[in-house]
Assembly symmetry: C2
Homo-oligomer: 154 residues x 2
DNA sequence: CAGAAGTATTTGTCATGACAAATATATTTA
DNA sequence: TAAATATATTTGTCATGACAAATACTTCTG
């Protein structure tokens, strides 16, 4: 044996983490596919931003990065692209000139509503055959995972 | 209302898909952090390749891309990096000259064993406080998600 | 067996993710 | 109030993900 320390071998076949990772990849791929099939020139990540702005307009890039669990640097680039695409607007704050407040445009709202439909469709595809009780347990457990990892990373 | 069609609004707060996506991001982030803290010059994705090669040596890039649910183009680049890092070797097949067979090196094996320890550690962090029954249900449901999405994408 | 079709891998491009460093503005403090 | 700190955002770099196109072999078929 190459390694003489205690061997805690991970078995991907039974690993919860691994199945979460693969499911996430596949779910995103399905959503991505549905979006491109329908010629929607937007990514799942960009939709996430639109979603949050349509729920509460006027968020900053920093607030959005927390809500979406994304790096602020990447959020900055995403909002640039969304602004260029005319889906959101950035307005410099009057009292604090470091801040941009972000607003969804009319074009963005229209697209967002269509995206809800496609997100709904992609949800139905991925969750087919899974009963409500299991879904509840999954959401509860996944919330716990998120809490655990947030605590570790803090 | 902007949209006059049937409105199937998605609520991220209760969405299984959304919680899978966020959990996956956070789990990877924890593992990534543990790896860089320990000065392991490798990414979670690259470990995935090492893992599979240590389980069954001599796989091709195509086989690896299926096992890891990754794009073949990206797998090609990942194996290039792993070869440069001296963790795997690519050997041209004698009978079919299009194929490379991939082998983990001694250096790769040593690293792989260390990575199992860190994967184990990161699993414990993310799953703390989740009971065995819930874990079983999660794995079973997530396998179903993977099947559902594979079927759709095929 | 030559050309067509299929297969394995690579390369190019654009979006995202992690993370360090830079920039601009605000706030705190000596 | 000037200097140090803190905060919001941006830019740069490298790895990854999706996807189209190119390359190099193999296999199939007329």
């Amino acid at each position: 044996m190459t390694n003489t320390s205690a061997m805690n071998k991970v078995n991907l076949e039974t690993s919860v983490n691994h199945h979460i990772a693969i499911s996430a990849i596949m779910i995103k791929r399905v959503f991505f596919k549905i979006l491109s099939r329908n010629k929607l020139n937007i990514t799942p990540e960009q939709w996430n931003v639109l979603y949050h702005l349509s729920e509460s307009d006027g968020l900053t890039a920093g607030e959005l990065s927390e809500l979406t669990y994304k790096d602020l640097a990447n959020m900055s680039r995403m909002t640039q692209k969304l602004e260029i695409a005319g889906l959101i607007e950035k307005k410099r704050d009057d009292t604090d000139k470091r801040i941009f407040k972000l607003f969804i445009t009319e074009k963005g709202k229209v697209l967002n509503n269509r995206l809800h439909e496609y997100a709904f469709e992609s949800t139905n595809i991925s969750l087919e055959g899974i009963d409500e009780a299991s879904k509840k347990i999954m959401v509860k457990s996944l919330k716990q995972v998120i809490l655990n990892t947030e605590k570790f990373l803090k």
